[in-house]
């Protein structure tokens, strides 16, 4: 812990800019493919935040699964289902009043939460950060949390098979 150094502040600022900028890009870009690229930037920023919090395993997983697998699958889905021109493919961009209301609510909740989070005395663990997080995670998953571990497998199977159930027939037809 300790006082943040200039280096830490710079890293944190860059990562935050990536996360927030990427998120805004997903919402506002009119081309769905550009939005996807913005999402990858956002995911990479989140992975960087994990790294800076010493959650190495989570950061690696974030890059492998979200930047690697999820983004690529979405790219495939976009290319396979493309209709019309790509430049105007993300048509559900909020406008005018919706945007104003949404921004006001989000800003209000954000400011309120931020204030409360700054005021609150958080539980700080006295232990040193673990050096081999992966080992501890693996042990926890197989001793204390075997049920979520197994259910996650079933859940991924259902997601995969379910996506095929919904999409496959149409591929056959076309």
């Amino acid at each position: 812990m300790g006082e943040p150094t200039t280096g830490k502040i710079i890293v944190f600022s860059v990562l935050t800019a990536m996360v927030i900028g990427g998120g805004l890009g997903v919402v506002f870009l009119r081309n769905v493919f550009h939005a996807l690229v913005a999402m990858v930037v956002c995911f990479l920023g989140v992975a960087g935040v994990y790294f800076s919090l010493q959650a190495d395993f989570l950061a690696v997983m974030q890059v492998l699964i979200y930047v690697g697998a999820v983004a690529v699958v979405i790219a495939f889905a976009v290319m396979l289902t493309r209709r019309g021109t790509m430049a105007d493919s993300n048509r559900f961009v909020a406008s005018g009043l919706q945007l104003a209301i949404g921004a006001a609510v989000a800003a209000g909740v954000g400011v309120a939460l931020l204030r409360l989070i700054c005021e609150t005395a958080w539980q700080a663990s006295g232990k040193f950060p673990a050096t081999d997080v992966t080992r501890f995670l693996g042990e926890a998953l197989l001793t204390r949390l075997p049920i979520p571990f197994e259910i996650a497998a079933v859940l991924l199977l259902v997601a995969l098979v379910g996506a095929v159930m919904i999409a496959l027939e149409e591929v056959h037809k076309s």
Binding site: E119, T120, T143, L145, P148, I151, L155, V158, G162, M165
Partner: protein
């Protein structure tokens, strides 16, 4: 006992895997119904395995999983809802060219989640069980390919449910940050003594919002009418009967046992929202012309009654919630069984029910009994359930709220009887009798028997609920 505690879930999950594997080797013609029968029998076996766990009361896996009578009771609700749905589902699905194997496998996986959720004693197990239910339903709602309505309903549920999950996780992470634990028992201890920061209250409200979508809490109910109208009737039956009961079990664990220390924040909010939910459900149901939209608003109203019993914060209230969930599950499944057999082909408009009593006396009678039970007419099961809820609310001192709920439930009789009048009084537009497969007939007979028997002899189930509720405090 270890793994033995998980036997019902393992059986249901294995059943789903067997069906999926069988689908690899068969073409899965939509006319075939055996996968659904197989799924129903697997669920019944899982139910027997769950019954054997009654009275076990054990905590396993370092306190993250608990099998007590409350959990077993909700496992049985999931089993009954799933098995009866699988009995009547294939008759409609084969008409819609949906493979019953796909449907049955997803129902079994969702039922696995519904059986795990009431036992979950830590945030991680709880969240992932809830997600297993949600993901199965995203597919079950949109399973009818090539049509706009189901796809729209599926997408709507996906987006709103995803948003609710995000809020739920935010709330959980706040609570975790403040207590340093994901275990419900540790969280209960952390908030039971001394001062807690305001952020903990906000966290509990976020958890309430996240689960609120699943239990039809107004104002997070928006998805219900569209999903009910767009999704095939068997999906809606299982969604209304099983998913909300499982989520209510999680609400009981979280708000009845774990977050009681924070009740100063969430209890007033829940009380107001419960009354608003009852009012909105009953009043907006009045002008509906589509039977599925009508039942969606009726679901919302019933969710409000159940929440009133949760607000009571007593073991009588918990018992009332449990009894209500079982009764509501069996009644809804019966009503949607009739809709599945008849109204899905005629667009679901209430006026198409005209003269149903002459075209199919059996379907009309089942619908009559289920609607009368939903309206709370004695001696049907719905009356006992409402009585238990109102009694619990009055005992806890919420006389005004109980009075408002009672008044609004009288209004509800009007819209239920609109449908009954159409069936029994109005002249039929068509006169052709309605074919009804034996699976549907069996499902409807089970529903009918359940509603009448539970109304005439409520004590065994009510006593089971009361004992479970007394024991549930950990």
């Amino acid at each position: 006992m270890g793994v033995g505690l998980l036997l019902p879930e393992i059986i249901a999950c294995m059943g789903g895997l067997v069906i999926l594997t069988e689908r690899l080797f068969s073409k899965g013609e939509p006319e075939r119904k055996d996968a659904a029968w197989f799924g129903a029998s697997v669920l019944i076996i899982a139910g027997v395995a769950a019954l054997r766990l009654l009275g076990v009361n054990e905590t396993a896996f370092h306190g993250s999983y608990r099998v007590d009578d409350l959990a077993v009771y909700f496992k049985l609700v999931a089993v009954v809802a799933g098995a009866v749905t699988l009995l009547f589902a294939p008759d409609l699905l084969s008409q819609r060219r949906v493979k019953s194997g796909d449907f049955a496998a997803l129902v079994l996986f969702a039922a696995t989640g519904m059986m795990l959720l009431p036992s979950a004693l830590d945030f991680i197990t709880l969240f992932i069980s809830l997600e297993l239910i949600s993901i199965s339903f995203y597919v079950l709602i949109g399973i009818q390919r090539g049509e706009v309505r189901p796809a729209e309903a599926g997408l709507k549920y996906l987006l709103l449910s995803g948003l609710a999950s995000a809020v739920l996780l935010y709330g959980m992470s706040l609570i975790y940050g403040l207590t340093g634990s994901t275990y419900l028992t540790a969280i209960r201890q952390a908030f039971s003594v001394g001062e807690w920061p305001l952020l903990a209250g906000i966290g509990s409200l976020m958890i309430l919002v996240g689960l609120g979508l699943k239990i039809y809490l107004v104002p997070f109910h928006m998805w219900a009418p569209d999903v009910y109208e767009g999704a095939p009737a068997p999906t809606v039956a299982f969604l209304a009967a099983g998913s909300s009961a499982a989520a209510l079990a999680a609400v009981l664990r979280l708000f009845g046992e774990s977050l009681t220390g924070l009740s100063g924040v969430w209890l007033p909010v829940l009380l107001i929202l419960a009354v608003v939910t009852i009012a909105l459900g009953n009043i907006v149901a009045l002008p509906q012309t589509n039977i599925k939209r009508l039942l969606a608003y009726s679901s919302i109203a019933h969710a409000g009654y159940i929440l009133l019993a949760i607000v009571a914060q007593s073991s009588a209230g918990t018992a009332a919630v449990m009894y209500y969930c079982f009764l509501y599950a069996i009644t809804t499944v019966a009503a949607f069984g009739v809709i599945s057999a008849f109204a899905e082909t005629s667009g679901g408009e209430i006026r198409s029910f005209a003269g149903l009593a002459r075209r199919s006396p059996f379907l009309a009678f089942v619908m009559l009994i289920s609607l009368a039970s939903l309206a709370g007419i004695p001696p049907l099961a719905g009356f006992m359930a409402k009585f238990a809820v109102f009694a619990a609310a009055v005992q806890a001192g919420y006389v005004v709220a109980a009075g408002i709920a009672l008044l609004l439930s009288v209004i509800s009789i009007y819209y239920y009887f609109m449908v009954i009048r159409a069936m029994y009084v109005d002249e039929p537009v068509e006169t052709a009798p309605i074919p009804c497969g034996w699976g549907t007939q069996a499902a409807l007979l089970i529903g009918l028997g359940g509603i009448i028997l539970l109304g005439l002899i409520p004590w065994p189930l009510l006593r089971l609920a009361q004992e479970a509720a007394n024991f549930a405090r950990f």
